[in-house]
Symmetry: C3
Subunit: 353 residues, 3 copies
């Protein structure tokens, strides 16, 4: 009869396991308002109903990172309730826009397992998929997370480490949504820079910065119904000599909102190619970010192009101080004030040829 | 012409007085989103439109504690603006579901008065009733609250202490809403435990814990349009050597959200039989809770049964450390870290016979 | 290719310049919920759908200060990103009610410029106008703001200081909306005081007080998509030896919500005749306010009259301690705990003649 839910530990996972997550969630205009209030997002496409109509859409979608964080939250009770740290993302595919009233249901498959040499924990690799109420895939992603073992002595079998693609291939990017009208975004943002005006190697220091307080991140994380203890249980964190951690997905949302300035005519996120939360963020930290244009991508559409961007978020320093490590140098190349290193691809209108 | 509104003091109340409260309030999907953001609620019934449809409802209702806190807030300017403390609840009847777009209007009758021996304050007993826009009773409750006297010398008459029922009788529970489809909740929560799987005397330690910050509780309490000074006026509280108090109804909401784990297939609250805010909660406190199943109740419906539960909330300690006092032992039996002792009844689907 | 957006500095403005602001914004019921959660507003007209219907409206509008703050926020990236301080308001005309689903687009004209004698900054005078999706003017306002110069040596031309009217004239007040049914507001607020019951010179000390925390004001300010650094960048503010400032528009909203008690039957704001944020507010400050009735105004309508009010907001002291300076004495007459001095006009139902 025991009903104390303790979540899965490392030894509870098996490669190939499929997990349906509780419970489906409907997103609404109320969730959108709260997302703006918590992140300060100004994305033109999502900020006004008339903007979406002008850009050739019937309605304004919800922001991609709100969808991601909501879907991610669903996986936490089963995957990462006993996590030490969320280590990285790959192959994050944004496949369909999500609109207020849509309901997301999420499933996960375990695609890899690797016990740590300490035998106290291991890395779980999962691919999760969110579908809407029409059973259409709207988002899928791979993440790997370090999870405690319940019993350090438990046997855990051979390591299976899945291969992930360094960049999401074009055929896994959302398509067909964009008409010639997307170019009208310049009349909404009052900024003329389009896809054609960006070059690989270009750097943008976003001017804003955002101090994050405990209620900011904990309201956001509760909104996503994410139950990870490290974000909520200040008593337990203090017992360990620490403080509550800001949910990494909130950091991505805040940086994405700050990155509006300089990327105003971006439409949607097409993919997150990879990323990691390099160092933790705590309440009181001020986050800033800078973007490097990594590549200009042909996404097979006449009216929009892809911009592959590297966004680095820092705490308690200026965007101008950010050093972009060489590609592939990764986490080891970052100083301790770097909190996010994200490689992602957005859609942006092209000029008329 | 003086328009300084100072609220009612103890000597302003008379047994039998009826008070209409300002002003009716419409609840919306925006309020729901904020409720999830402030409490982390994951109740399956209320989390997705598709969930409610699957369970045989036309729409998803708002959560019961959101309805309770909104209705309660309406009574504060007239009943408890000059309160010392909210002492207890009884006979809290949840009679109809409330849906986004519904409007609540609230009235109160004074049913008892008892001056304290100090003559500085007294206990006011009230029964309040919330009705929707169709004048249908959706909620009623009894509470008693200690209220300051304006003039310590004022004469206050004989004490009248109303008798309240220790358990809400079945004929005051919401009925007729639940069809055989409610059993499908197990496919949403991915948890198989139904009414049949709980036994009286069973204890559940809910695994989560929630640190509450000032903005968390004050946003919630403002959302309920509750104006009690103790929650908002930090300057006055500091003048008295203290800090703002977290509104007790927010503590119930947070504990109810934490109690999802282990009671996943619960549908709605049918009644609060009794309860008290045993000790105050302040910003920075971390709340956890445990539940004891007190009784399994026949609610006269084929598809759902009632579970009478005792939920004890604590601050800055683990759920596992909670000691359940013997029934009736009450507040005196609680250590100083207990913040809530609530006796309530929920509906849960029964297995097919 | 440089895309570092640094905003306009004093020398970038020219009298007569017109600026369209990014981007139009749709307001929803979600925004209304958050506004109630952040301010505690209880305005009868806006709190329930049934209230608006009873008062003769087809729907309940959004609150005027929510509309103002949203429209104001749109102007920040172009006008006040490099502001030292927002100095004052005049000629704030509330011309049409705004309803959930409406979209606001905002334009600004520079109407005056005056370099400071230090040559490090100057005052920019602007008139901004918000229109809805039908291109109907819903709000216009004049403000003046002190803005840094990028280059202290830049030449700035002759000072142009626009004349503004000390009181908004009746022909710029919203009209025609109110029927005889507005008198029914007394049945909603349970308060009998109408326009006829107020007299010029009458003072109302509002009983509530509100402590403002960092998440409260920063969520509000993000909701308005206001990007002024002083509200968000705690790291930069600390570098200067200070703390984040509470956005002044949030202070107006909070004071307006506190002013419910004593002005319960007020309907809408018709105009802000003038106002200034006399001293800054920071997280942890507790705000209270008092109102002086300055004048009773004939607004040319049979069922409502105008009340011209002076609302003074203070921090960390009681409303009763507020001294109202003689009219025109202005900021110099205020002690350091005064944070707001606002001269505004509201509509209130008149008794049947």
């Amino acid at each position: 009869m025991k009903k104390d839910r303790t979540g899965n530990f490392f030894e509870d996972f098996r490669v190939g396991m499929k997990i349906r997550h509780a419970t489906p969630r409907t997103l609404t205009e109320g969730d959108r308002s709260l997302y703006i209030g918590l992140t300060g997002s100004r994305a033109a496409f999502c900020t006004a109903e008339t903007n979406a109509l002008q850009l050739g859409f019937e309605r304004r979608p919800l922001e991609d990172m709100q969808v991601f964080n909501t879907a991610f939250g669903k996986t936490v009770p089963d995957i990462s309730l006993n996590a030490v740290a969320n280590l990285g993302y790959a192959e994050v595919h944004f496949l369909s826009h999500v609109y207020p009233g849509d309901t997301l249901a999420v499933e996960t498959e375990v695609i890899g397992l690797k016990e740590n040499s300490s035998r106290k924990s291991g890395v779980v690799y999962v691919r999760s998929t969110a579908r809407n109420q029409f059973n259409r895939e709207v988002l899928s992603w791979v993440r790997w997370v370090m999870v405690h073992k319940r019993d350090h002595a438990a046997a855990c079998g051979e390591a299976v480490v899945p291969a992930t693609q360094p960049v999401v291939p074009p055929d896994r990017l959302r398509r067909g949504d964009y008409t010639a009208r997307v170019r009208e975004i310049t009349t909404l943002t009052c900024i003329e820079d389009l896809w054609d005006d960006y070059v690989a190697g270009e750097r943008i220091d976003h001017p804003g910065a955002m101090t994050i307080n405990d209620s900011d991140h904990s309201i956001a994380t509760r909104l996503y119904q994410n139950t990870a203890r490290a974000h909520f249980d200040g008593h337990a964190m203090a017992s360990g000599g620490g403080h509550r951690l800001v949910y990494g997905g909130h950091i991505i949302s805040v940086c994405r909102a700050l990155a509006y300035d300089g990327l105003e005519n971006g439409l949607s996120i097409l993919a997150i190619n990879g990323g990691s939360h390099v160092n933790p963020t705590h309440a009181g930290d001020t986050v800033a970010c800078a973007t490097m244009v990594l590549d200009k991508v042909d996404v097979g559409q006449p009216h929009v192009g892809g911009l592959r961007l590297r966004m680095i978020g820092v705490k308690n320093t200026d965007a101008a101080s950010i050093a972009f490590p060489a590609p592939g140098e990764g986490k080891a190349g970052h100083p301790s004030n770097v909190v996010l290193d994200l490689d992602y691809t957005i859609a942006m209108p092209k000029r008329r040829q």
